[in-house]
């Protein structure tokens, strides 16, 4: 099976006035088409920096020191801003942790969806409207024409997260990066979002990078799981094998904490 994304020897550091703070140290990983790769680790281990590097959305005080991120045969690290526009939000979709903060509060759901759709798909308004309805249906929002009129503050966190997913899917991306998409949500709503991601993976043949601190979520979703600790990738295995025979001590500890804090 084809690799959709391949990261080789990626190192990223943050710089403040005095020193460099390494955030990622020589990360190697790859994800195959139609598979889910999960990246697990504590807060501060560099999970989000990794996701942001793939999008080249790092803050100005961060720098990619070495390595390459090959997506579709092209190196994202060496792309110009113009070339990146074609990748960001188009070939790679993003879902962020806090849906209410990621959506524009002064635009209706419909306006945001239609803007995104027309930006990438060249449809007229009416077609874009229909496409928006189709996307909302895809993420299991009933009665989409009605919901298009709503503003983000009128919807619950779970519904907003579904809208975020719909937005991410608007341009028919091949790869979806989900950065802790359920950790701000209730367990029941979080479970529904996980199910939705799994359905979409099967239905659309999406590849998903799923970032989380909670191993218990991983076992239901990911084909492969990578564990990060202090900017390094310490273990990457098939998910079931990782649960049964973790190689690293740290992975074992993380598993125990997840068992204590959740019911796996």
């Amino acid at each position: 099976m084809n690799e959709i994304l391949k990261i080789e020897g990626l190192s990223v550091s943050y710089f403040n006035r005095e020193k460099a703070i390494p955030a990622l140290r020589r990360i190697n990983l790859s994800i195959k088409e139609g598979k889910v790769l999960s990246i697990v680790g504590e807060s501060g281990c560099g999970k989000t920096t990794l996701a942001m590097s793939i999008a080249r959305l790092l803050p100005v005080n961060a720098e990619i020191l070495e390595g390459s991120i090959i997506f579709n045969g092209q190196d994202i690290c060496r792309m110009s801003e113009k070339e990146l526009e074609d990748i960001r939000g188009k070939q790679i979709g993003y879902i962020f942790q806090d849906p209410t903060a990621a959506l524009n509060p002064v635009l209706s759901i419909g306006a945001q969806l239609i803007e995104t759709i027309r930006n990438s798909l060249r449809l007229d308004k009416r077609q874009a409207h229909l496409e928006a309805c189709r996307l909302l249906e895809l993420v299991n929002i009933p009665d989409p024409t009605n919901y298009l009129k709503f503003y983000p503050h009128q919807l619950s966190g779970g519904l907003n997260q579904r809208v975020m997913i719909a937005l991410a899917l608007a341009s028919k991306p091949k790869l979806l990066i989900a950065d802790e998409p359920t950790s701000n949500l209730d367990v029941t709503i979080g479970a529904a979002i996980l199910q939705l991601l799994l359905d979409l993976k099967v239905k659309l043949g999406l590849s998903i990078i799923f970032i989380t601190h909670d191993l218990s979520l991983v076992s239901f979703l990911a084909d492969e799981t990578a564990v990060m600790l202090q900017g390094q990738l310490i273990e990457i295995q098939e998910t079931q094998r990782l649960f049964n025979q973790p190689r690293e001590m740290y992975t074992r500890e993380l598993l125990n904490s997840s068992k204590f804090a959740s019911l796996i």
């Binding site: 709503i189 979080g190 601190h213 500890e253 804090a261 019911l263």
Partner: protein
């Protein structure tokens, strides 16, 4: 039988909001609806439910931060000063600590307010109790991680030697490893100091390892009220069952989201329940004792054991 520290009877709190910015039509939101509970000494009572079910309103009523529309909260004579004996730890450790005060002053403040002697030494003891070094006193909240901040909040809550601590989702914004540390710390402190906790959470997982009794809330009402053990082994209410399933297997049987404003006739859970029958839409069930000390709000309590 342990001492009853707190008893709440038939609490009601309704809010009224406008349907839209211009409309005069008001919608009634039942944040807490006819809710009774009791908390025993050295025990933990879990209040479980999704966001928007009224958990935090309940906590505020108990702390007398807001007045209930009807019903009352009575405390045992052991609790003579509410503000001193009942403390709270908030969900978000990033905005519940004053960013301009150093850690020493944050913990000192309640000691001074309640005129507790030997306050400065007590601050050091408190830090030790939550397993922080004594020299963190001169540092500021921004220098600490989420888990450490939550310990500081806990030290502040413990300062006045309370009997009851209300924990409002104390671990849900932390990552799993820190969650475990904080939960173990809370358990230790409970054994050491004989504290009672009212533990508000949306996560069932925490309940199993931590809480003696559980109260499952939905739209301001109690769905199920029993020992945590019973709840895990034999949930009677379909809502408890689905929360359990969501925690355990990350699956959900529930339909749609929490209904917000719609008027529901019959059982308030009927819009999401996977097992509805005709009766559920016509007659509202009552919270009844279905078995020994196991209360449920359902016409057709589940019979099977476990999920």
């Amino acid at each position: 039988m342990r001492d009853k520290l707190l008893e709440a009877k038939n609490l009601k709190k309704y809010y009224y909001v406008s349907k839209s910015f211009f409309s005069k039509e008001k919608i009634e939101i039942r944040a807490v609806d006819d809710l009774s509970l009791s908390l025993f000494a050295s025990c933990t009572l879990a209040v479980v439910g999704e966001s928007g079910c009224g958990k935090t309103t309940l906590a505020k009523i108990i702390l007398k931060l807001i007045e209930p529309d009807s019903g009352e909260v009575t405390f045992s004579p052991l609790i003579n000063n509410l503000r001193k004996d009942v403390q709270m730890v908030f969900q978000n450790p990033y905005n519940s600590l004053d960013p301009l005060m150093n850690i020493g002053d944050i913990i000192l403040e309640p000691l001074i307010i309640h005129g507790i002697s030997n306050a400065r030494n007590r601050v050091i003891d408190l830090l030790k109790l939550v397993r922080l070094e004594a020299d963190v006193r001169n540092r500021f909240p921004r220098e600490f991680s989420g888990g450490e901040r939550q310990r500081i909040s806990l030290a502040r809550a413990l300062a006045t030697e309370p009997k009851i601590i209300i924990l409002d989702e104390p671990v849900s914004s932390l990552d799993v490893r820190i969650q475990e540390q904080i939960l173990r710390l809370l358990k230790d402190l409970q054994l050491k100091l004989g504290l009672s906790f009212l533990f508000i959470t949306h996560n069932f997982s925490v309940v199993k390892n931590f809480c003696d009794f559980s109260l499952v809330m939905y739209l301001g009402k109690i769905m199920e009220y029993c020992s945590s053990r019973d709840l895990f082994e034999r949930p009677f209410h379909p809502y408890s069952e689905s929360l359990l399933l969501a925690s355990r297997e990350k699956k959900t049987k529930l339909k749609a989201d929490l209904p917000r404003f719609e008027k529901i006739s019959g059982c308030i859970f009927n819009t999401r329940c996977p097992y509805t029958k005709d009766k559920c839409f016509k007659i509202e069930p009552k919270l009844e004792e279905k078995e020994n000390n196991h209360l449920a709000y359902c016409h057709f309590p589940l019979k099977k054991s476990g999920v």
